[in-house]
Subunit: 649 residues, 2 copies
């Protein structure tokens, strides 16, 4: 059995290095010794039982390298035990997915070749490091101020106090080459290699790329309908009713079907039925030492009332202030717009007709900048709110960011559509906003980091060559390079971008049918640039066992409800529909409102009726549950019989 | 330790009889012998290990009594084992609710006195009887046509083929006397004895009475506001805006808070964290013998496509036809109404003013009759659809009945309010409908069955006395009496009635504020009549371990959403509001629609934000989960170590 890892650096490290651990370069020697001992110690002594080696970089002319860089690896036996600890699901010999147990290891398919993927091994090591807990130490040796208490995660404490700079998984050059070839190096019309992505980066990222692909494919029919609309009806914007109806149905069905796709993917990857581990407090959480009411363990406690005060007295007013600012900027944009139109009307020439687009472009850039600034502020505020769990932190962050981004990006469009009722301006504004933000995004997200990374790469390569001549030192070089790469901050920004694009398409594409086409084009390049940035710009991220796209499903569904309302209103405003009710607006409005209510009701019924998990997976899940129930009954019966016989004696 | 049951008939039965089993009087002797053997047989032989005795009624002059009536009881040890089988939750010594295990029995609170309630003992016996499965028998002895297959529930097969007439739990006279005294015999203003009800009838019924009480109390503020409205503004129906707004907020908060109450009750009763048992096919389900894809067991299989065909080609058209009929009847009612108004206008006298109410009263009676007839049809149709699971059967039945009842009861009111826009007629119609249906309901539900039961009681008493003289035979007499009582068909009709009352209040009470008062009065008598009917009119029902009010929560929530829309529309129609927009209806409608959308959004956010389970119960549940996780880890670690040591040898 092999793990698919090449031990290419037997002189540097006697095992396959999987994870890099970088401590601050002024860390005290006794702390290091203590940490390494705890990592190497046997499990029954409360250690992690992992392999760990120091990497010594040769000194350089101008600056001393950090001596405290370590690589961590593991024996196969330890990894398999760890796979059971983290509750990994694997394909059983009968084709269903079952929780891996070491005792039944031979009954799992493919146990003898590449059973655990790289990403899984690294995830297991991360889990073992994270759950390495303090025993009786009162503080970290050498640091009397770094208090510990029994059960506190050592790595989290070191990380939150800045002793542990970072720990990250190493890339596997061969696998990466293979993956990037099948992923983006050959230009072809085919599906993305989701299984390979999951194998290398884990389920969370693979689900994102799955969603990206699904979203793009789902947009294709819309784009195909949009092109003739655009070509033949450019100025005849009355005819958008049919398109709006299509929009409505599409956005509902799209999300319902995705749930089923995502369940299918997650089942195949074994994350669907995986039990959630008990959630630990997040690394940044602080408070007076108290007792957790659930576990009874000593840990920091922070009164929920204080957090509520911070949320309602600081965060909410801040968000409202930001929203006000965003409205203010919008009003400035409209002033600019009128000014440009006035100039054009006074002197209609090519130069002034180009000038017409300038306000929108400037506004789009300002929107992006405001989004970016707000993102930092939101992260700071949410951190300051001191949430105990990572999930609650994420929910509050997502909520803050979504509300602002939604208002910031779409307020002007709503204003143009429903207050000014100027469909020509709406179309022009939408186009400029969409195109500008796409270009900005691609630059900010991929090209800029890539360019910075290339410069850094070259510098490192040069430095290395100067030091060792042409003699290559692959592991040392690789670690050096990857240590200095940027950290990938998770799929948040990627989903946010897709969310806003979904908004542009589902809310207003009936007045600008090319929106779907633009988003499809954007997403095709997005796949490539995202793939490239994952492989070459950022540090490899730890895999995340995701079951679905989480809070984003809710966000997309909310958007699609808003889309129903918006599209109905746009239909009601269209001159074509208005022509049917020449006498009274009242009747028209009542009918539109009635239709909207019916559509919303239909949407909810549809969401309720379509099962979230496809039938055959439901059967498999029920099977699993039934088997475990039966096994449980048997075991209970056995213990009961034993207890009974004890009773009689 | 005692179970609280008095063994008063030691000559008839040597154990406390808990459940009565009545077979058809022409059942073949070999089938009876076989069934009794299976019930008495030890558990390791696949039997139920229960105690069972025949009851021999003395022969009567005119007719032979059924010789095949049996009483079933159990030893305490068997009941405790059974409590573990059904997954009963009890209060542990640390105050939390935990799954009972026989091994830890001493660690549960109150283990030594009245640990298992009557209702629980009977539920356990029912469970053991239901899970008495066929072994290798190919058919029931003596009945070659009653096919069996390994794993088929014997009792269900006997029941579905009419060999087993019925089985039901016996009343406990002393407990019943105590319960009925604290419940309805003393007139007092206090809460209902929910814990006692639960003790005697089980969680399902106790939750219904809890809901009834909660709903009634929630209506009190509304009724208090309604009275002055009614007294001082009877003809000034413009002023209902404030009342409609109150209505809106009330109906949302009411349901959200109930969820928390119900979770608190269910936690205290140990049903909240109880795992659902694997659901067996319902008794009436039939189909060709095949293999269950989940359990792999042989059982009847019915293709889902056939069921879909039945639903969409027969049931749906039938429901639509009934709805059409209901509309037709409504139109006839309006004709009658106009005819009555015409007569009154021609000759306004007391007689003709009374005539004004006649059409509504007739219509209300017709509605009730149609509801009743439809109920039978719906049950027949849903049964014919051949659903595999009881839960799916219930869902389809509830959906069918709710849709029809909603339309049948409220269509005329909607028509009057929004098409005719006649608020005076709406108020009058609402009052007549509400009062008539309340009176009819009370009669049909309690007084009629009570009267029939009294007649029957007297006959049985007389017959018994004639046979045995004054010598009393309590058990025989009790069984005889209870065998002939009507069976309580579950809480369906009771919830349905509350659902319709909730509709009257939340949809239209702003135009007729007395509605809340009437509903409060109705519910106060309802509590008494329902309590009385449970104690003295019906057979004691088996207890049902309910966690919440199930599909009815959804039904009430849907109603409260419809209530938002209706109330907003009523506000928009009010002359008071219209006066603010003298120029254009359009603006008024737009504002009302906007407010409605905001309210709906607010409602959804509220439902999302308010946690369904109170904090302290969440903590307790998390504690339980944490402990079981820790225990699981320890056990896994042990088995892993054992496996590891085996591995090394």
């Amino acid at each position: 059995m092999q793990l698919g890892l090449s031990v290419s650096d037997s002189d540097v490290s006697s095992f396959t290095p999987l994870v890099v651990l970088e401590l601050a370069d002024d860390t005290k020697a006794e702390a290091i010794t203590w940490l390494l001992n705890r990592i190497r110690d046997k499990q029954q002594n409360g250690g992690a039982e992992l392999l760990v080696n120091q990497l010594l970089f040769p000194a350089q002319d101008d600056q001393k390298p950090n001596p405290n860089v370590f690589v961590v690896g593991s024996t196969l036996q330890r990894l398999l035990n760890g796979a059971e600890d983290v509750g990994l699901f694997k394909e059983f010999q009968d084709g269903t997915m079952r929780g891996f147990t070491y005792a039944n290891r031979e009954s799992f398919n493919d146990f003898n070749e590449g059973f655990l993927s790289d990403a899984e091994c690294q995830y297991i090591i991360k889990h073992e490091l994270d759950t390495l807990r303090a025993k009786n130490e009162e503080h970290v040796p050498g640091y009397p101020k770094l208090k510990l208490y029994p059960g506190k995660s050592v790595v989290r404490r070191l990380q939150s106090k800045g002793v542990l700079n970072q720990y990250f998984p190493l890339h596997n050059k061969e696998d990466l080459k293979r993956l990037s070839f099948s992923w983006y190096k050959k230009f072809k019309l085919s599906f993305q290699p989701l299984d390979d992505i999951r194998h290398y980066f884990g389920e969370g990222l693979a689900l994102y790329f799955g969603f990206l692909e699904y979203f793009t494919f789902a947009l294709v029919p819309m784009a195909l309908i949009g092109i003739p609309y655009y070509l033949f009806d450019w100025e005849d914007y009355d005819k958008y009713v049919l398109f709006a109806v299509f929009n409505l149905v599409w956005s509902t069905v799209f999300l319902e079907v995705w749930k089923r796709c995502s369940a299918t993917l997650a089942y195949g990857w074994g994350t669907l039925s995986r039990k959630k581990a008990f959630e630990e407090p997040r690394a940044g959480f602080h408070g007076a030492l108290g007792f957790n009411p659930v576990t009874g363990r000593e840990e920091p406690v922070y009164p929920s009332s204080k957090r509520q005060l911070r949320i309602y007295l600081v965060s909410v007013p801040f968000v409202l202030l930001c929203l006000y600012l965003s409205f203010y900027v919008m009003m400035v944009y409209f002033d600019m717009e009128f000014w440009a139109i006035n100039i054009y009307n006074e002197d209609p020439s090519i130069a002034t007709s180009i000038l017409l687009f300038v306000p929108s472009i400037i506004y789009a850039v300002v929107i992006e900048i405001m989004n970016l600034l707000y993102r930092f502020a939101a992260e700071f505020l949410t951190d300051w709110e001191n949430h105990r769990l990572e999930s609650s932190f994420q929910n509050h962050l997502v909520l803050k960011v979504l509300v602002f981004n939604f208002v910031n990006c779409f307020a002007s469009l709503f204003y143009i559509a429903f207050v000014m009722q100027d469909m020509v301006l709406l179309r022009q504004s939408l186009a400029t906003l969409l195109i500008t933000s796409q270009i900005l995004n691609q630059v900010m997200e991929a090209f800029l980091p890539y360019w910075l990374q290339r410069r850094r790469n070259k510098k490192v390569h040069k430095r290395m060559r100067r030091l060792m001549g042409d003699k290559e030192l692959p592991l040392l070089g690789q670690v050096k390079l990857e240590t200095e790469m940027n950290t990938y901050l998770g799929t948040f920004d990627d989903y946010l971008e897709q969310f806003l694009l979904f908004g542009y398409v589902s809310l207003f594409s009936c007045v600008y049918p090319l929106a779907a086409v633009l988003v499809v084009l954007n997403n095709i390049t997005e796949v490539y640039s995202d793939a490239f940035k994952m492989c070459h710009v950022f540090k490899r991220p730890f895999s995340e066992p995701a079951t679905n796209i989480g809070v984003w499903q809710l966000a997309f569904e909310t958007m699609s409800i808003i889309a129903v309302v918006t599209n109905c209103a746009l239909i009601g405003l269209s001159p074509q529909v208005k022509a049917y009710f020449p006498e009274s607006d009242t009747q028209l409005i009542l009918i539109v409102v009635a239709i909207e209510h019916v559509l919303l009701a239909f949407k909810f019924i549809l969401a309720f009726v379509i099962p979230d998990v496809p039938k055959h997976i439901q059967v498999n899940l029920a099977k699993l549950e039934f088997d475990s129930l039966e096994a449980f009954k048997k075991r209970e019966y056995k213990t009961k019989k034993e207890a009974g016989s004890e009773d009689q004696t």
